[in-house]
Subunit: 154 residues, 2 copies
C-alpha cells in the first residue's frame, strides 16, 4: 500500500463493504440520539483538492442515524440493503441504489428497519455547518403525520 | 411523481441501475474517443444548493471512456461489475465498490474489459474545467509503461 496524497490518483480496493486502509469511525461523539451506526471516510480530509467528501455510513439492523437538521445538503446513494428515511413530513422506503437528496434544513433520519444492514454513500461539502438536533417545537412545526412522528427516534 | 426542486428533499427510486425520471444521456458530443458509454445525471444541475454533482456512468463490455485530463478531481465508487482504469502510468483492476480518486491533471481512462458492464458513481464539482484530450506528447511524458500504453484507446 502506498498512502494517498492529494497529488496522486489511486484505487482503494473494497472487499465486502470494507475498504483497504479505511478505518471504521464512530458516528459522533457529542450526541446520543443514534444507534448502531458507523462512518467510513472514503475520500475526505486528506485529499486536499476535493471540495466534496465521500463517506460511507453503515447502520446495523434496528439502528438509526440522528434526527438532524443543517444548512448543507446531502447526496446519498444506497449501496447496501435497505431501510427507510424520514425527510421532513414524509417517510420513504429506500432500497439498493436509490438516490436520496436531502435539501438544506430538511429534518432527516435514516432507519435500518427492514431486518437488514443499511449502507449508503453520502457526499457533503468540505466546508459545511455542524448538524443540529432540532428542538421539539421545530419538529412539531415540520412533522405532523402521525406515522412519521411515530418513527422518530431520539 | 413530483418533480424535484432545490428546496425539497426527495428519493429517486432505482430499479436495476435505472432511476425513476432520470434519462440516459450521451456521454459527450464533441469528441469521439470513447465507446459504449452513457451518462445519467442523478443529482445535478437542477439541485441548486449542491456544489457537487453526482452522476452515474455505465460502460458496456468492450467499451471505454475518453482518455482525458483536467484540473478538477473525480471521486468514483464502482457500483456495477468491474473493469480497469488507467491512472497516469498505472493500470488498476477495479471491482465492485472500489473507490477511485482521480487527482488534478491525472491522465485517466476507464475500460469495461472484463466481459461485464462497468458502472460507477462519479462526483465532481459544479464549477469545473472542461476535460481535455491530452496530446500525444503529454501522454508520452506521463505514461511510459508498455502495458499501460497498449491499453490506451483513442
Amino acid at each position: 500500500m502506498h498512502p494517498p496524497t492529494s497529488n496522486t490518483s489511486n484505487v482503494i480496493p473494497c472487499d465486502d463493504y470494507r475498504w483497504e486502509g479505511v478505518e471504521r469511525k464512530d458516528y459522533k461523539t457529542d450526541t446520543a440520539n443514534f444507534r448502531s451506526i458507523h462512518r467510513y471516510s472514503l475520500l475526505g480530509e486528506e485529499y486536499e483538492p476535493l471540495s466534496a467528501h465521500t463517506r460511507y455510513f453503515e447502520i446495523q439492523p434496528g439502528g438509526y442515524s440522528s434526527l438532524e437538521r443543517h444548512q448543507h445538503p446531502h447526496s446519498v446513494v444506497v449501496i447496501r440493503g435497505g431501510g427507510s428515511v424520514i425527510l421532513d413530513n414524509a417517510l420513504h422506503p429506500i432500497g439498493l441504489h436509490d438516490v436520496v437528496y436531502i435539501a438544506p434544513y430538511s429534518i432527516h433520519q435514516f432507519h435500518a428497519d427492514r431486518g437488514e444492514t443499511l449502507g449508503f454513500i453520502c457526499v457533503v461539502d468540505r466546508d459545511r455547518d455542524r448538524p443540529r438536533i432540532p428542538a421539539a417545537e421545530e419538529v412539531a412545526e415540520v412533522i405532523t403525520d402521525p406515522e412519521v412522528l411515530a418513527r422518530i427516534r431520539r
